[in-house]
């Protein structure tokens, strides 16, 4: 088993953890955390391929990861403010309201 394979399997497992959380939690904040975990798993893949790839001097994997971290930070800020705006209207962060939303 090459080291790259173990990194890829770890990354796939982290992606599955994030996907399971994003699909099965009720709170929208938790769903956002799951999406962040999936983005991080993809970053680990980029770094592992950069480390074991044929042309590490090209720095492509590192650059992809840096830009991906920046996009993920922007996504977290916008996502949380959307959740906050929804919370102000419905007083809840649940994705499955138990009763009908008050209109």
């Amino acid at each position: 088993m090459t080291p790259l394979t173990s990194y890829l399997l770890l990354s796939a497992f982290l992606f599955s953890i994030g996907l399971a959380g994003a699909l099965s939690r009720r709170s929208s904040i938790m769903v956002l955390i799951g999406i962040e975990i999936m983005l991080n798993a993809a970053n680990l893949n980029f770094i592992a391929f950069w480390r074991f790839g044929p042309a590490p001097t090209a720095l492509t994997g590192v650059m992809f990861t840096i830009f991906s971290i920046a996009v993920a930070a922007a996504e977290a800020a916008v996502g949380l403010s959307i959740i906050l705006a929804v919370y102000r209207r419905t007083r809840s962060t649940d994705l499955e309201p138990t009763e009908a939303p008050h209109r």
């Binding site: 996907l19 975990i37 770094i47 950069w50 840096i66 919370y87 008050h102």
Partner: protein, 170 residues
């Protein structure tokens, strides 16, 4: 596969697994922070020091704190009495397991085509700066515009007063 990798992988999996399975949202964010620190250590182990420290700065220092603030602002830090998982959580876990099986199958049967380079590549911050300002200068500008737009958009969305014109009756 070294012992260091196994320990860091165990820390990361435990932290992120706790982040996705615990009931109290604040405990979830603590688990998330531990998982992000484990990932940063994995980046350091792979020889990408700059990315590892960026991971600590951005994810542990900014995103986790942002999520903590959001949880506190929405007064959901206490454990909810109702189920924290949705009614269809079994389907979600089954889908995630199927995705893991497909990814693991692809990695397992494609392992002989993967590159195997043993030597750790040299990476200095100066190289990253050169690459950012020469080859990757257009993505850098685009990311700057994107971050500015996201900052303004998040501010506009979050500062929208409930007394404004978008207020819904309660």
């Amino acid at each position: 596969m070294t012992l260091v990798f196994l320990i860091l992988a165990a820390i990361t999996i435990l932290g992120l697994g706790a982040a996705m399975s615990l009931r109290n949202p604040v405990h979830c964010v603590v688990g998330l922070t531990i998982g992000f620190l484990g990932l940063a250590a994995l980046y350091l182990q792979l020889g990408a020091q700059f990315v590892g420290l960026t991971q600590v700065l951005v994810y542990v220092g900014a995103v986790a704190i942002l999520i903590i603030f959001a949880i506190m602002m929405m007064r959901s830090s206490e454990s909810p009495e109702q189920q924290p998982y949705s009614r269809s959580w079994r389907v979600g876990v089954a889908i995630a397991f199927a995705v893991y099986c497909v990814l693991g199958w692809a990695v397992h049967f494609g392992a002989h085509t993967l590159p195997t380079q043993a030597a750790t590549p040299e990476l200095s911050v100066q190289q990253i700066g050169d690459a950012l300002l020469h080859r990757f200068v257009l993505p850098l500008e685009i990311i700057a515009v994107l971050l500015t737009a996201a900052l303004i958009g998040a501010g506009v969305l979050a500062l929208q007063d409930p007394a404004g014109e978008v207020r819904g009756p309660r």
